[in-house]
């Protein structure tokens, strides 16, 4: 992945504890490349349609908490063939969106963080905060060259 040609899409729900992590990722880093950081809150169909039309985008990275049977806070970089169809962006299968992106000649990845808690009206847990810091540090360095 190179910096200018990667679009990042944060997924999640701000009201559900660690499920806000993907959205926080976008909040924290979008200043580095505002046109290429998207939050699910902007409307996923509009985001995907914009990304697939953008000839400059080569890679698309989704960031979200997801269950991959790991310890809370563990991070995984997942490709399409690792993702079950039950993983949905609350409606549209994420696997379908990733497949679409690949069909349009781009690469798609999911950076998954194993959550500790998805309780309503709670903050992101300390465990996932630390994981988020690691991800943001890596991506930040990548974007800043």
């Amino acid at each position: 992945m190179t910096n200018r040609r990667t679009a990042f899409v944060g997924l999640g729900n701000r009201d559900r504890g660690d499920d806000a992590a993907g959205l926080r990722f976008v909040d924290d880093l979008k200043h580095l490349n505002p046109n290429y950081f998207f939050s699910e809150e902007q409307g996923l169909e509009a985001i995907i349609l914009e990304i697939i039309k953008d000839k400059d985008v080569e890679d698309v990275v989704f960031v979200d908490t997801c269950d991959f049977n790991a310890k809370p806070g563990e991070i995984a970089l997942l490709r399409l063939d690792s993702i079950e169809e039950t993983v949905s962006t609350h409606k549209i299968p994420l696997s379908m969106l990733m497949a679409l992106i690949q069909t349009e000649g781009k690469k798609a990845y999911l950076v998954g963080i194993q959550p500790e808690s998805l309780e309503f009206e709670t903050d992101i847990s300390e465990t996932v905060e630390k994981a988020l810091e690691r991800i943001e540090d890596t991506v930040g360095k990548m974007l800043q060259g």
Binding site: E45, K91, M96, A99, L100
Partner: protein
């Protein structure tokens, strides 16, 4: 006895599961389990102001948010003796049709199509049918835009208020929507042309009863104060309990409904079967081209019914805008009383939605919400059972049986978040 379990039903809204218990070569039980917990909305809003109820109840769901809001408005305005002017009614219908576009596009193109084209999952379908995925996303985006323009947000918009709207859309915004609706007609047509000729095996066929609202005009519509049943009976919407007859079941947080002690279906296929001959223009042509007697017996035809409704909605959006743009923005109507009761009903994308209220001295005192998916659950179980027995008789393995059961359940486009209704616990 052995069981086939689908622990997480994919490509539906919310969290549901299917369990089939088999003894020898017989299906003993088929269950569609709602594993989302009780939502408790009907208790949450007791004691609240009607305006607060109006903001709370759309949170039942993020897909059918405006259906809930519109049904709530209709119920509350009956309680408070409010008659809204024509422009308000037209705009509320516009937002509801926007939701139909958004919801049906999601279901047809992105959730059901892999099943209908014979793919094991959505990703496998996308490689060959990426153009349909893009059409689905484009239509969904447009549906969201309609809702955003009228209600101020694509999800949980607060602009529709008791007595009117906080802000009326400008004519420029409405004309833009009209142009976009017209441009998307070919997308809807392509869904009809793809789904219309599809054949479904007859082994799933079984008669059922259909229910929908009867529009007050002779048009195909989504709003009414009369409930139409396929057995020929009609009920006033205030008598909805004579139709829904809710009960609690042990294996699901969602209540169940039966009409005359039998399951029934609401949704697009119900509307098509009961009101299809009211369609006009191209939607009517397609309805006449594809309709057959099996639409009354096989839930898989709900998909083509949704596709025709999608086209109808795009055309209706244009005609509603034409009628709206010449009207002046009315004032918000004030309540005529503080105590009253009333039932509001609309046809949400998935079927008939009831919001029944009592207001006493300006506060909510009784709330009853019956959602389309909750009404469909008994019929879904009936057809899941038929499918399971057939696949068992054919000697299919558990994986294939499970796959077919998911296809049947998905055909109903269930909205599970809506269906997890309040359960009353009675201690004896």
């Amino acid at each position: 006895m052995r069981s086939i379990e689908i622990k997480h039903l994919a490509r539906v809204e919310g969290h549901g599961a299917i369990t089939v218990r088999i003894e020898g070569r017989k299906v003993r039980e088929a269950r569609f389990e709602i594993i989302e917990g009780p939502r408790l909305f009907e208790t949450l809003t007791i004691g609240k102001l009607p305006s607060e109820n109006l903001s709370i109840v759309p949170r039942i769901c993020a897909i059918c948010t405006l259906s809930h809001r519109y049904a709530s408005l209709r119920g509350l305005e009956k309680c408070l003796s409010i008659q809204v002017p024509e422009k308000t009614t037209l705009l509320r219908e516009l937002m509801l049709h926007g939701e139909i576009v958004e919801s049906h596009a999601l279901h047809i193109f992105l959730l059901a199509l892999p099943d209908l084209l014979g793919y094991p999952n959505a990703a496998a379908m996308t490689e060959k049918y990426s153009d349909y995925v893009i059409k689905g996303l484009t239509l969904k985006k447009f549906g969201n835009k309609v809702m955003e323009v009228v209600s101020a947000r694509a999800t949980h918009g607060e602009n529709p208020i008791i007595g009117g709207f906080g802000r009326y859309p400008t004519n420029r915004e409405l004309h833009e929507l009209k142009d976009q609706a017209k441009a998307l007609i070919p997308h809807a047509q392509s869904a009809i042309e793809l789904l219309g000729p599809m054949k479904f095996p007859a082994w799933l066929d079984k008669e059922t009863t259909f229910v929908c609202l009867k529009p007050p005009t002779k048009d195909y519509g989504l709003v009414g104060d009369s409930i139409l049943i396929s057995d020929g009976r009609e009920f006033d919407v205030e008598d909805y309990r004579k139709v829904v007859n809710e009960r609690v079941v042990s294996h699901s947080y969602a209540k169940r409904s039966r009409y005359r002690d039998a399951p029934y279906t609401v949704g697009s296929i119900a509307r098509m079967n009961l009101l299809g001959n009211r369609l006009k223009g191209k939607p009517k042509d397609h309805y006449q081209q594809y309709k057959n007697a099996r639409w009354k017996r096989n839930p898989m035809f709900n998909n083509i019914a949704q596709a025709i409704e999608l086209l109808h909605a795009l055309e209706k959006i244009q005609s509603l805008i034409d009628r709206t743009v010449d009207l002046k923005d009315p004032a918000v109507m004030k309540p005529g009383r503080e105590t009253g009761k009333g039932t509001g009903a609309v046809e949400a994308p998935r079927g008939t939605l009831f919001h029944s209220y009592e207001v006493k001295n300006g506060r909510m005192s009784k709330v009853d919400i019956v959602t389309p998916t909750a009404q469909n659950l008994d019929d879904i179980e009936k057809y899941v059972r038929i499918a399971a027995q057939h696949m068992l008789d054919k000697g299919e393995n558990d994986e294939e049986i499970g796959r077919q059961l998911e296809i049947v359940a998905r055909a109903y486009d269930p909205c599970i978040s809506c269906s997890a209704h309040l359960v009353n616990i009675v201690r004896k």
